[in-house]
Amino acid sequence: MSPVPSLLLIEDDDAIRTALELSLTRQGHRVATAASGEDGLKLLREQRPDLIVLDVMLPGIDGFEVCRRIRRTDQLPIILLTARSDDIDIVVGLESGADDYVVKPVQGRVLDARIRAVLRRGEREANDAASFGSLVIDRAAMTVTKNGEDLQLTPTELRLLLELSRRPGQALSRQQLLRLVWEHDYLGDSRLVDACVQRLRAKVEDVPSSPTLIRTVRGVGYRLDSPQ
């Protein structure tokens, strides 16, 4: 990871793209921009940015679809920029694999804080390994293996798994997880947690619909258990 994070901003509106580019550049990011989803995907292959800021309403293929296409091959963090804060958009966005979302009109500082929080998730921490059944989490190498196979986790998914594995058997509330993983303030959207847990289960559990590792604690949140 380069010391100056490089971002890819995919936004069709010229004014917003210019303004956000200006703002983010001032915050110390390297910003590449694309005006459509197709251009963005092409640029993604050429430039390998650290993070993507993606507008939902795009001409041609929309933000959700771009998000899904990226996720097929890449575990790169994605922050959705949604002009419509209609709840269904957020849910669809999170289900298509986004790590976080920001609602327009967005303040540059907020976006910057979110970007930095997402990027921090990929940072290594010196620690040992832990195993839960067939799942092995190597905190030093920042890798997760299941039955000896490497799992492709996004930084957010990895961070969520790490936070849960740090307190095995202990239930963590959604608000706690939002603060630990997403670094949101007290008003974090708990659907971020739910969506991320769903994605993580799909990769980690043997049968995602009946989880044995990441358990839901009704009325509280989630807990990582060793299978009995």
Binding site: V106, Q107, L187
Partner: protein, 528 residues
């Protein structure tokens, strides 16, 4: 038609049926009474006239026959009596006279040789005596009348009907012209009375039957009238409940069918009108929603750039020309206002369109409120009275919006200290926000939750968008709660927020009702 079933109040439909039948002034009862009265009048007058005519005819015929016989007997037997006479003679003659076909009792009065009054009667069990003859009749019989052209005889035959021991009798008397005995007769009219009695009974029964028949007819008539009226009433109530597609089946061409047709036309016009208004309302709401969406795009660009300007101002590097610094500051602050306004407008349009959703989470209220106050740097101005450990299942973001608006409003208009207290009432969460300001004028109180309502036109515009309290109220509503505004008796305004402790039940209901809409929305997003 004031007594149509529709007149019965809608809030007790369960007892309606019973009341409808029991009500004294109901159309049905009135119809029955009127029909009954008509039948009674007709039957009674017809029977009365028939009875009276019959009675006269029967009695006159019986009486004429008896009197004719009596006269005959008097002429045949009494006139043959030698005068003066003896009691035995009188007795015998009376007996002969009584033997006639009419079976009446006879009493003969005459004088014997000693100028003594002697009586002769036809006997019988309760012998006929002079006491049985009314005095007036005796006087009339014994009265000698002057003989004129019009009145050829000095004595006449007189008769009278008397009732003794419940039995009607005909009493008649006459005096032989030329000094014969005076004769009286007594004839029981019992057979005739019996006949008339049975006639009266028959007529009474006929009247009763007529009454029953009329009541049944009235019922039938009432039913034919009231059934459509009842249907009309139900339809009108449904219309009132907002089921504007209510229509009546029109059958026939009578006035009630005409009424049904009018009802249908009215309902149709109403439905069309409501639809028009709803469409217009929808259009204007969509316009506001679209407008705020459209405003957002340039605003996003402006906000991002304005932050750059703001940083320049704060940097104190002197990079901004002092001449234009106030202009830049104005742009920065007004852009924030515009951003808030658009944000609030978006929020309002989401509520109006019904797309607002709850994102529930378990929160500790004391923590949540403290965080809300802390995030806005209000800790010094707000006095929080809440125990830790009150957990509730609600949308934390929406609770934050409500609290921020209520507390912000209290700080702005009421002044500190603002006191926020939390308590539980049954399954409800009650959060009271009280300020120590002058309170809210009574005429403003009902409007504090109105959109863009400003307490007075002359008041300088405040920093608020004019939507804050309205949005707070909508957020409370979506939780299934509410907010009330009042003035505390100790001074200051009190806003009381009441929310159900667990809003998940409410959400399940709305989810069930709108899951179809969600599905289509979702698929639209998934497959562009």
């Amino acid at each position: 038609m004031t007594d149509a079933p529709g007149g019965i109040r809608g809030w007790r439909p369960g007892r309606k049926g019973v009341l409808w039948r029991l009500r004294f002034t109901s159309l049905r009862l009135r119809l029955v009474v009127v029909f009954g009265l008509v039948a009674l009048t007709a039957a009674v007058s017809a029977s009365g006239i028939a009875y009276w005519l019959n009675r006269e005819a029967v009695l006159t015929r019986a009486q004429d026959a008896v009197l004719r016989d009596f006269r005959q007997e008097m002429q045949n037997h009494a006139s043959a009596l030698p005068m003066p006479t003896t009691q035995d003679e009188l007795m015998r003659t009376a007996g002969q006279m009584a033997n006639s076909s009419q079976r009446f009792s006879v009493l003969l009065v005459a004088e014997d040789t000693n100028k003594q009054t002697v009586f002769g009667n036809s006997g019988g069990l309760n012998g006929f005596s002079l006491e049985d003859v009314p005095k007036s009749l005796r006087t009339a019989v014994n009265k000698q009348q002057s003989v004129t052209d019009g009145n050829k005889e000095p004595y006449h035959l007189y008769w009278q009907r008397v009732t003794e021991h419940g039995t009607p009798y005909l009493v008649a008397g006459t005096r032989m012209i030329g000094g014969g005995p005076t004769g009286y007769m007594l004839k029981s009219l019992e057979p005739e009375a019996k006949d008339l009695n049975s006639l009266a009974w028959s007529l009474g029964i006929a009247t009763g039957l007529a009454l029953i028949g009329s009541a049944l007819l009235a019922q039938a008539a009432a039913t034919t009238v009231l059934k459509p009226v009842h249907r009309l009433g139900i339809a009108a109530r449904r219309l009132g409940e907002g089921k504007l597609d209510t229509r009546l089946r029109v059958s026939g061409t009578d006035e009630l069918a005409e009424l049904s047709r009018t009802f249908n036309q009215t309902a149709e016009a109403l439905e069309k009108r409501v639809a028009d208004m709803a469409a217009r309302d929808d259009a204007s709401r969509r316009f506001v929603a679209d407008m705020s969406h459209e405003l957002r795009t340039p605003l996003t660009a402006i906000t991002a750039v304005v932050e750059v300007l703001e940083e320049e101002l704060d940097a104190e590097t002197g990079s901004v020309d002092p001449m234009i610094e106030p202009a830049v500051r104005l742009v920065v602050s007004e852009t924030k206002r515009l951003g808030d306004l658009v944000e609030n407008l978006m929020e309002v349009t989401r509520f109006d369109a019904g797309t607002a959703r709850l994102v529930l989470d378990d929160v500790d209220l004391a923590d949540q409120i403290t965080a809300c106050i802390d995030a806005r740097a209000w800790l010094d101005a707000v006095d929080l009275d809440a125990e830790r450990g009150i957990h509730s299942r609600l949308d934390p973001r929406r609770l934050d919006v409500i609290l921020a608006n209520l507390i912000g409003n209290a700080l702005k208009h009421g002044g500190s200290p603002v006191r926020v207290s939390v308590r539980l009432e049954d399954d409800d969460l009650v959060i009271a926000v009280r300020d120590h300001g002058p309170g809210i004028p009574e005429d403003v109180l009902p409007h504090v939750f109105d959109r863009f309502y400003k307490a007075s036109a002359s008041r300088p515009r405040s920093e608020g968008s004019g939507l804050g309290l309205s949005i707070a109220m909508e957020n409370a509503h979506i939780h299934g709660g509410g907010i009330t505004a009042a003035n505390s008796p100790d001074g200051g305004a009190v806003f009381t927020l009441r929310l159900p402790r667990d809003a998940s039940a409410l959400m399940e209901e709305t989810d069930k009702g709108e899951s179809e809409g969600d599905g289509s929305d979702g698929s639209k997003g998934n497959t562009p």
